[in-house]
């Protein structure tokens, strides 16, 4: 068994890319927002905004949803493929994924599940928030911070800076 761990460890040293990664990311000063504060933030349907970094995409009838790397979802009216209309932006912190069933959009927001009524695209509304549906996992949101004294119990990371 120890021998095997040895092999595993020697792999780490072979992978010099990793070592650099760890050094550069090592332990910054992290500012948190408590879960309570985070959940009190208003979830707004904002005016359409430009795409910064498009990640996941999802279609529902003639609607197109585009998730933004920094969190949030662009709502696009895609009836006319030659002239798609960027309608609005759901400002959802900690969002990675989405799915639609029967006119309702299901998204994650860190550990919570949010449900939006999208039957009327002009009046998208938040229907419910289901707290603590998913395990809050630093791996999902703050890549690498789990090695760096990140304290999950303190809440959401809002800022990081060098010590």
């Amino acid at each position: 068994m120890k021998y095997m761990i040895g092999i595993g460890l020697s792999f780490i040293f072979l992978l010099d890319g990793c070592v650099e990664y760890r050094e550069s990311e090592e332990c910054k000063k992290i500012t948190y927002m408590t879960f309570e504060e985070f959940r009190l933030q208003e979830l707004e349907v904002l005016p359409a905004r430009e795409i910064q970094k498009a990640k996941k995409i999802y279609i529902y009838n003639n609607l197109l949803f585009i998730s933004e790397e920094e969190g949030g979802i662009h709502i696009i009216d895609n009836h006319d493929k030659k002239n798609p209309i960027n309608k609005s932006f759901l400002n959802i912190g900690g969002n990675i994924d989405m799915a639609v069933k029967d006119g309702y959009l299901y998204v994650d927001s860190y550990m919570d599940l949010l449900v939006w009524d999208i039957r009327d695209i002009e009046h998208i509304q938040l229907v419910t928030r289901k707290n603590d549906t998913f395990t809050y996992d630093s791996q999902n949101y703050y890549f690498g911070y789990h090695n760096c004294g990140f304290d999950l119990s303190k809440g959401i990371m809002v800022k990081e800076e060098d010590k």
Binding site: Y21, N78, K82
Partner: protein, 257 residues
């Protein structure tokens, strides 16, 4: 056996610790109306249930009442799962260590019925006509060059309990992919967006899938794609591009910025 597991666990840890984006994936098939996810999705709807995966768990939610979604169960999944695709009575989970197939005849208790291991990589999976298309890419991970794996694997999943590899094809750095209408659309990193025609041959009960290149859109370094009703939607970093694939070369439609 235990030691082997340990090594794999260690390797996955290393990989996850260093990788740039262990982004996950996607695609779930639709229910009644038209909905389709890209191949990088980790959410999938099947019947009245929403399935979600993250690094180590699969959550199953009853969404028959949208106003009151209920979490009905949670099962453990391999540590490095990344994408989820619902097809027929099965859930296909793409992970860094392989493809896992779950039977969800009992919707609240999916059971793992097969796993199809391959090299460490990131790998979305989509299913089309009982064939799974899986891309493996080591692009963002920390493996040294010699260990790099970048390829497309085509797997026969007619019997989900017994997946069979049909062929593997080297790619540049494949990411998201979509299959529709006998065509395969594949984001292949800096090599561009590639389109292949698929042809199926069955010989002696053995299904073969052959690929013929139809076109390559250079200058597109896409993350994910959706192919639906002759319209290809491409998630291309700072914009979204759409192409009409009723003929080739495809005609570009509108761009979304």
């Amino acid at each position: 056996m235990q030691s082997k597991t340990l090594i794999i666990a260690l390797l996955s840890l290393i990989c996850i610790g260093c990788g740039g984006g262990s982004d996950s994936s996607s695609s779930s098939s639709s229910t009644s109306s038209t909905s389709k996810a890209g191949s990088m999705s980790r959410f999938a709807v099947s019947g009245d249930y929403l399935y979600t995966i993250n690094q180590r768990e699969m959550n199953i939610l009853d969404i028959s009442d949208a106003k009151n979604p209920k979490k009905v169960s949670k099962i453990s999944v391999p540590f490095d799962v990344e994408t989820l695709f619902s097809y027929k009575q099965n859930l296909y989970v793409g992970s860094e260590s392989g493809l896992y197939i779950y039977d969800n005849k009992e919707p609240t208790q999916p059971v793992r019925v097969a796993s199809f291991s391959h090299a460490q990589s990131c790998d979305p999976v989509v299913i089309f006509e009982d064939i799974a298309y899986v891309t493996l890419s080591s692009g963002n991970n920390c493996w040294n060059k010699e260990r790099e794996v970048n390829r497309l694997e085509i797997v026969d999943v007619q019997d989900p309990y017994n997946p069979k590899i049909i062929r593997a094809i080297d790619m540049f750095e494949p990411k998201g992919l979509a299959v529709d209408d006998g065509k395969l659309f594949l984001c292949d990193g800096e090599a561009g967006l590639k389109v292949f025609e698929l042809s199926r041959e069955v010989d002696n009960n053995r299904t073969d899938i052959k690929l013929k290149s139809l076109e390559t859109q250079e200058g597109i370094d896409c993350y994910d794609v959706i192919a639906d009703k002759k319209n290809l939607i491409v998630s291309n970093q700072e914009n979204i591009r759409q192409f009409d694939y009723s003929s080739f070369p495809m005609e570009e439609q509108g761009e979304i910025k």
